[in-house]
Symmetry: C2
Subunit: 324 residues, 2 copies
């Protein structure tokens, strides 16, 4: 028997970068700031030019701060790339786009890491500096690195996605360092006290996967009394963004809501699927999942708010029916 | 008896930042690139935001690359300061101005230092990247830090000069770490093989002083057969820029060519003084110094070229009369 959910606790969103940040943004406008905790993926983190970059946590923070480049979905709006142009002149490989404002974040993070500050504290300081009032937590303070296998061998996720533009078929995905990583006390506390746990429409394998691969993270979700709802990142058989579809296939799963349900397994109480995938509703319900069919494609701000509100209302319904 | 000068060797310029860089620039346009070696002060180096900044070496490099901000005399032309604005928002003290392009230099330098690359190699890579074809050498690969004593106590040179705008009277100047530092093989080789050694119109105490404080540096100058010529940084009793005048006084010397001659002592064969200080010619000659009286204030590019040419011609005269 699961404990009852903590109805006054925060909504906890597990999220990768661009796609998940849109839902985070909608939730941030819908909920009181103290009622939202966003847990960001760190498997995409990468050291570039000696600086520690945490792309998903940064995208979440910049988006929540209202400072993100809305068109690209990452980096600051009205960004310049003068430093990168000089780094290129100085012989550095500059395939990973780092804007001038963005570099400030990485410079501060790198200094604080060297001084021994936990990534959790660093993320909090950056969020506070940019006046983000909800809580943004890295999934772990430890280093977890998502690697992608292609015909050429194993690549860092950013090498695969950004440098090589995800052109090769992914054959497998693994999370280096996950076995030795631990969820932070802040993450465990947020999951334990949540009123709902939402899995953003991020890459299930490469963005949410690195969290679930950290020993203790999945258990903390299973122990929580909160309803656990995934917003499906696959619409009409394809990822809205990035290689989620191909990575599900690499894991032997189908690129559709059923494959997502298979990937998350017993973690889910319910799933939000797009109207384009309404035909999966019955099959998902046969698996014991609650299902909300609604528009999940977030093109405009009001789409984000609408999906956030619908998902929260759906989660409240799910929480009314705790299962054994 | 000193050895004869190596007439085919390079002209070696010892230089601090802005003022010395102007003469370096004139020499660079006057000489073949392989005939100029610039040795830059590292006593002003400072770690900011976890990045290692080497202001004098950078000013020299940017100036020689034709990329310096001509009005300020430091940093890149048309520079932006977007990263610094974000660092300020994130709670960092941002009194040390670091432009976006400039940060690229410091990011690369910091990474290479951590990887164990010598500052000499780093300076060479940055100069090559910016297509500077003469040689730019840090005075030492070791860490020497110029500190300034005021009524408030000892301050890092940049705290004194930039943060506190050199408002307090300097009471003393010292070079932390100089005793344990060593000149590099490249510096020793340049001094030994020089056709002339020029001391730029930089701060004798705070910019040239940290080089001379490194054990072996002064001896290498004394052993060289090259004529050693200082371009006086004091004109009409005042520094052209910065606190040279007050620092000479803090050392018990006069803020005029005689004080500069006293500071450099037996290092000098000759001095270039401004027409405003022609009255010192006789006294300097009584000290055994050759003297060139000419315009030394470099406001325009042609002033730099003119001073460079006049100083080189003067040095050739001096080299014709080696002393015991």
């Amino acid at each position: 028997m699961r404990p009852a959910s903590n109805k006054s606790g925060p909504v906890v969103l597990l999220s990768g970068g661009v796609g998940g940040a849109k839902l985070a943004d909608g939730l941030y406008r819908t909920l009181a700031p103290e009622s939202l905790t966003v847990i960001g993926n760190v498997g995409d983190d990468i050291e570039r030019h000696g600086l520690w970059v945490s792309p998903d946590v940064d995208i979440l923070t910049y988006t929540l701060a209202g400072m993100v480049d809305a068109e690209k979905g990452w980096g600051f709006a009205d960004e310049t790339f003068h430093a990168l142009a000089i780094l290129r002149r100085l012989g550095e490989e500059t395939w990973f786009n780092l804007g001038d404002r963005d570099l400030a974040t990485h410079i501060l993070r790198t200094r604080l890491r060297r001084e021994g500050v936990r990534p959790t504290g660093i993320a909090a300081r950056i969020a506070a500096g940019l006046e983000v009032r909800c809580t943004v937590l890295p999934a772990t303070d430890d280093t977890v690195q998502t690697h992608v296998q292609t015909e050429k061998g194993w690549l860092h996720f950013q090498e695969y996605l950004v440098r090589d533009r995800a052109e090769a078929a992914p054959l497998d995905v693994r999370c280096e360092g996950a076995d030795e990583a631990r969820p932070t006390p802040e993450v465990l506390s947020a999951l334990a006290g949540a009123s709902a746990i939402l899995l953003a429409p991020s890459n299930p394998v490469a963005s949410i996967g690195p969290m679930l691969a950290v020993p203790g993270f999945r258990d903390a979700m299973l122990r929580s009394g909160a309803p656990r709802i995934a917003v499906c990142p696959i619409v009409g058989g394809r990822s809205l963004k990035g290689p989620s579809d191909r990575m599900l296939k690499a894991k032997g799963l189908t690129a559709d809501p059923m494959g997502v349900a298979d990937w998350y397994g017993d973690l889910l109480d319910g799933m939000v699927v797009d109207e384009a995938d309404a035909q999966f509703e019955g099959m998902l319900k046969e698996r014991g999942l609650e299902v909300l069919v609604t528009g999940t494609v977030m093109q405009k701000a009001r789409d984000r708010d609408g999906l956030a509100e619908a998902t929260l209302a759906f989660a409240r319904t799910c929480s009314a029916s705790p299962k054994a």
